[in-house]
């Protein structure tokens, strides 16, 4: 592909300086997201998925967080070098983000319509309303009021777009009066109101019921088709990834360990961690077997293991894994893996693995 990616993250390193020590949350993370695609980022809790997203938004709480190095190119502009003011103009407009907890992510003291209208007022010029910056305070106030009214109408349209029935009523309701699914729809309406190029969805359905999850995902897909937004979906639900994503990145302890086209990764996972992850989902169709588990747990990122961070849990580990972090190498077109022994992993069969384990 010759065109430039929409978002290009290179060697991003984010640390958190806590009382217990420096948490090395992200260590040289690199990947691209292309225009209009759906990219899935998957991994266990605490592996750095959300930190990556928040680093891109630059919403890492600072202190204790600090982006140490790397670059985040969005449409060719390095976000890490831009001033806060530019970032404010980008957030909610070109890049927006949906959070995991619809219950707490909306401000309890403002109604839904006002919260959506706020983002429209911030980023859209609302050209239907004359907006000469007049010095007369009375006219100025009248114009402001007209803009607010127009933004509120647009907010109602946005609610209609996310298939909320009776959007006029919902716009005047407060978050505590809505269900979790409704709030997440309102959140999506808010974050898509300005037609962003990139929508970061950080576990958008984790807190919702299964039926509502499917509706929300369908809705996101539909809106993506209509608006051409790229979606960066963060989840630990493999089913959601398989369903939604064109490409997927697997993250482990602050590193991308495998990245590529979704089918390729699901068909031939080449990293031992990805393999374990895929084997740990129950399948209804197949004969019942004991689910495989990955032994051990996610390492403490204050004192992460040397070399490949997965080696203490890996059944393929060799001496080199303990000292040298493997680089991400292309094993086939659109499929990269960071593992010294990907070739052995590729050709190993289940029985052999038992022997190793």
């Amino acid at each position: 592909m010759t065109e430039t990616p929409l978002l290009s993250i290179r060697d991003l390193k984010t640390y958190f300086y806590t009382y217990e020590g420096v948490v090395k949350a992200l260590e040289a993370t690199s990947f691209d997201i292309w225009k209009g695609e759906t990219f899935g980022l998957i991994g266990e809790t605490g592996c750095g998925k959300s930190v990556t997203a928040l680093s891109v938004m630059q919403l890492i709480p600072q202190p204790p967080g600090r982006i140490m190095s790397g670059s985040i190119l969005f449409n060719g502009v390095d976000l890490l070098k831009e001033p806060e003011k530019t970032l404010q103009q980008l957030r909610g407009c070109a890049i927006s983000m949906i959070f995991q907890e619809p219950m707490t992510a909306l401000n309890p003291v403002y109604n839904i319509g006002r919260q959506i209208a706020e983002v429209i007022l911030l980023h859209k010029d609302l050209t239907e309303v004359p907006q000469k910056n007049t010095r007369n305070p009375i006219t100025h106030r009248r114009i402001q009021r007209a803009r607010k009214k127009r933004a509120f109408e647009k907010a109602i349209e946005a609610l209609d777009m996310v298939k909320i029935s009776d959007p006029k009523k919902v716009a005047r309701q407060y978050p505590h009066e809505l269900s979790g699914g409704m709030r997440q729809r309102a959140m999506i309406a808010m974050m898509l109101a300005c037609d962003p190029d990139l929508l970061i969805a950080d576990e958008p359905t984790t807190a919702l019921d299964v039926t509502v999850q499917a509706q929300i995902l369908d809705l996101m897909k539909e809106l993506q088709h209509r608006k051409g937004t790229a979606i960066w979906l963060i989840t630990h639900n493999l089913g959601v990834i398989a369903e939604m994503c064109d490409r997927v990145g697997v993250m482990y302890a602050g590193y991308i360990v495998e990245i590529g086209k979704t089918e390729k990764i699901f068909e031939n996972p080449d990293h031992p961690y990805t393999r374990g992850l895929l084997r740990s989902i129950p399948l209804i169709m197949e004969e019942r077997q004991r689910l495989e588990i990955i032994p051990g747990s996610v390492p403490n990122l204050i004192t992460p293991p040397e070399g490949c961070r997965f080696h203490p849990r890996c059944k393929y580990q060799m001496d080199i894994c303990k000292t040298c972090a493997p680089p991400l190498v292309e094993v086939e077109p659109d499929h990269c893996v960071a593992c010294h022994r990907f070739a052995d992993v590729k050709y190993s069969v289940v029985g052999e693995e038992e022997k190793h384990g």
Partner: protein
């Protein structure tokens, strides 16, 4: 429920509160081992006839429960009895002293609330910076300084060492108070256009109002700081930032409105506390208000005045809390008046 309906309901609830307060104050003031009749008749050397006369007049020779009903009966007719110290009806004394205390309290709150809230916000958003340490020191000092010491120090500094402010009273000595319209000297001076009394009354307010308001300032500051800190790490603040809202607006529109909810409670309670708790401040600054009146009444065994004062304070507390609850419903849409 409609707002007015709620207000009426809450005001009706005042009646049991008043009855409860009267039972307590009445019992307490009548079981302490002192003889008010003797005190009013002139102390140890009083004539027995005079004592008997006063005793009969105050129904002190009747059983306690009967005395209580006499008192309640008077209360219904808005008669709080007679103040023996001032030799006039208690209601009249309270009517004279209440505006002085109210004026002092209002000014104290006008100092404490804005400074406390602003200090709390700055402290929270500059957490662990110099301005935060500074406001926290102010808060601890305000918490722990005894009022009488603070009052005396302020008098010593600003009325004696650097005499820029008056020592005590509501007006300069020899100045005629403005015509009574509201009883608040500042407002009356403005209404009558009297610049001299206006400036004098304002100058006289500064030291006592600051003394009275300082601890409240400290409490509001700490409350605002801690709730602001909590709110600013909430998910919806992150959402606001993700929307591209400028940081100023994040703090003042999204943060402050949520952080003010607990602060409001404190303000309401403090308002009641200041109105009733001005005893020390008023005594030291010789401020002719209810607090000084109550202190004198307690020392002089003037039970009618003590009970009248307590009653007024109870009513003020109930009304202040009612106002806070109404404000609550305005600020926080999750609060429904009378729900539950």
């Amino acid at each position: 429920m409609k707002t007015w309906e709620y207000i009426v309901r809450r005001l009706i609830l005042l009646i049991p509160v008043i009855i409860g307060v009267t039972i307590i104050t009445f019992t307490v003031s009548h079981v302490i081992p002192a003889d008010p009749a003797r005190a009013f008749a002139g102390g140890p050397k009083a004539q027995p006839e005079a004592i008997a006369h006063i005793r009969a007049e105050l129904h002190l020779d009747e059983p306690l429960w009967k005395q209580y009903f006499f008192y309640l009966n008077d209360l219904i007719h808005l008669n709080l009895g007679k103040s023996y110290l001032e030799n006039r009806p208690v209601l009249e004394s309270l009517r004279d002293y209440f505006p002085a205390t109210f004026e002092l309290t209002m000014v104290a709150m006008l100092i404490a609330v804005p400074l406390g809230i602003i200090g709390g916000i700055i402290s929270a958003i500059k957490q662990n910076k110099i301005s935060d340490h500074f406001s926290r020191i102010i808060a601890i000092v305000g918490y722990s300084l005894p009022i009488f010491w603070l009052a005396l120090m302020l008098q010593y500094l600003f009325a004696y060492l650097v005499p820029i402010l008056p020592l005590e009273g509501r007006l300069s000595v020899g100045m005629v108070p403005p015509t009574t319209i509201t009883g608040f000297y500042v407002i009356d001076s403005i209404l009558t256009g009297n610049v001299a009394t206006l400036s004098s009354s304002l100058l006289h307010l500064i030291l006592p109002a600051f003394t009275l308001g300082f601890s409240t300032l400290a409490i509001i500051l700490r409350m605002t700081r801690s709730s602001m800190l909590e709110v600013m790490s909430a998910d919806y603040i992150r959402t606001a930032r993700a929307k591209g809202v400028p940081e100023r607006k994040v703090i003042y529109q999204h943060g402050l409105r949520n952080a003010l909810i607990p602060t409001l409670t404190v303000i309401g309670l403090q308002f009641g506390a200041l109105l009733s708790g001005a005893v020390l401040t008023e005594t030291i600054f010789n401020w002719p208000g209810m607090g000084r009146f109550a202190a004198n009444a307690v020392l002089g065994l003037d039970f009618n005045s003590v009970m009248g004062f307590t009653l007024i304070v109870a009513i003020i507390y109930v009304i202040a809390n009612l106002i806070v609850d109404l404000l609550y419903a305005m600020v926080d849409p999750r609060v429904k008046l009378g729900g539950g």
